[in-house]
Amino acid sequence: MPSRGSATTAVSGLVALAIAVGVVAMLSIGVGSRFIPPDSVLSALFSPGGGFYDNVIWELRIPRTVAGLVIGAALGLSGAVMQGLTRNPIADPGILGVHAGAAFGVVVAIYVFGLLDFRAHVGFAFAGAALVSAAVWLVGSRGRDGATPVKLALAGAAISAFIGSATSLVLYADSTAFDEFRFWSVGSLAGAKADLLLAAAPFLAGGALLAFGVIRGLNALSMGADVARSLGQRVRLVRGAAALAVVLLSGTAVAAVGPIGFVGLTVPHVARALAGPDHRRVLPYSALLGPLVLLGADIVGRVVAIPSEVQVGAITAAVGAPVFIWFVRRRTVREL
């Protein structure tokens, strides 16, 4: 019988996914409120200068496409690490309070500091995400067994609810904040610019390195903390590094482009259905499936309502929810 796990199958799967990501990236450069023909895309990419579309391509489409690639990879990876860390197939970084914290950070930026430029929100969103997930981690890891999945989920739910109600309180009291916040609260790739991506790059790279560094630890944890320890893994260290990777990846993502749901939740499921439960395969698959899904959704958002756009966060939620239900009903959701 064909072994689902053989290394050559895994590698050819990755190559196929990489090609698909490349195709979607090309589409993302070409498709928008103004359609750019493929030959113009290629000439702008490989011999820039002078082309009619070069400005649009280099100033708008390429930063947006790169944002889709790196944020998609970050969301896919952080979802896979989060589900491995918590051994929970329906976990997403929201459990650590990342989204609640980022939203609160943005509200503080608008309401307390009166900052209306969305670029100023980025730092506050990341700080909020980092602080709230640190609080969740501190509360959830108290006690002898450390940060067990159950304790983390409880701490995350409680603290997220608390922070969420603080956010709501401000939003209902202040209509300016409410108006500004509306735009942030549906994630969009449209505002991504090169300098923002450069600022995000070190955080994303650090998160990705950590994620790939804890692969063996996540594999060991998938058999339970006791078996992991009996295999010589330092469970607390693995869990801490995995949580830090999640915060760096998804915290940066939510800060840079706003909350985008369902990518981090759904992508790891597809990765496991394609590649089995081993994190050596789940992580690279998720890192490629993430951009495929996010850029795909972004392209759909650009064309469904021409001449205006639908934000990518709305598309991933609208498409992601039914797809996720379909997945669950087909029982391709694998127990962790």
Binding site: R216, R229, G232, Q233, G276, E335
Partner: protein, 272 residues
């Protein structure tokens, strides 16, 4: 041969005021099979877990002559493997991938997979007769095959000492015998020190060199199967009346609980 492989000095396990084990001393000899028996909740699994350092404890655990407090988790994992009761693997994980994870304590961060790893996995699969199942997902196997796959993972770890928590529970009689015979084979041919918690007293009598009976966190009886598995000990440790006879096949003690068969009891019932 009488060298200590694993031991405990003044071992205390549990929360303050609720000690499951309170000051236990033990020396387990290299190359022997030791069975720990006792009633539910007597602390036998707790002892096994504390010895394997999966459970925090006070006092000293000595492994290969060294205080385990001075050894890293990884160094302990190279000397001692432990198989918990009813471990769970993620759905879809193949036997080969599971067994390969037994090599984690031997792998470095950069050098991921070596010839020694390959050889250890192959040998573990062969010893457990699981080579034919290498590509199969664990969740598609029967309970007995699944248990053998987990034992193969522990074997791939290539430790001198192997601890197992109730390795035969929930298995049919054929797989029970297969698992225990496999452990004896490992002990005899590879000189592994084996410590196992067993519920079945007759298995303990039959397969172990030494039996330790526990009661409320203490060692109630300790010795050869003949010394420990007696009517008196069973009464004291399990609160059960039983006959102990010599098993006609091996001569090991055989426990027969002295309960009255239902037909006899019905006959004794006064008719209304």
């Amino acid at each position: 041969m009488d060298e200590e492989a694993l031991g405990a000095r003044g071992l205390v396990v549990g929360y303050r005021g609720h000690e499951v084990i309170d000051g236990l001393d033990l020396a387990l000899m290299r190359g022997r099979i030791t069975a720990i028996i006792g009633a539910n909740g007597c602390g036998k699994s707790t002892l096994l877990w504390a010895l394997s350092r999966l459970l925090p404890s006070e006092g000293t655990v000595v492994l290969d002559g060294r205080d385990t407090a001075t050894l890293s988790t990884r160094e302990i994992a190279r000397r001692l493997s432990v198989l918990p009761q009813g471990p769970s693997a993620p759905e879809g994980l193949t036997v080969a991938d599971l067994v390969a994870r037994g090599r984690y304590p031997h792998q470095k961060w950069l050098r991921q997979w070596s010839e020694a790893d390959e050889a250890a996995v192959r040998e573990a699969l062969e010893r457990t007769n699981m080579t034919a199942f290498a590509g199969r997902p664990i969740d598609e196997l029967s309970g007995g095959q699944r248990q053998k796959a987990w034992i193969a993972m522990a074997l791939a770890q290539r430790t001198d000492t192997v601890l197992l928590d109730e390795p035969t529970t929930y298995l049919d009689i054929g797989h029970q015998a297969e698992v225990l015979d496999l452990l004896v084979e490992l002990n005899v041919s590879a000189g592994r020190t084996i410590v196992l918690v067993l519920h079945d007293l007759n298995q303990a009598a039959r397969y172990a060199d030494r039996v330790i009976a526990m009661e409320r966190g203490r060692i109630a009886a300790d010795g050869t199967p003949d010394e420990v598995i007696t009517a008196e000990t069973l009464r004291a440790v399990f609160g059960v009346e039983a006959h102990v006879v010599a098993d006609p096949h091996s001569g090991a003690p055989l426990v027969i609980p002295a309960s009255v068969p239902p037909a006899v009891r019905r006959a004794a019932q006064p008719t209304s």
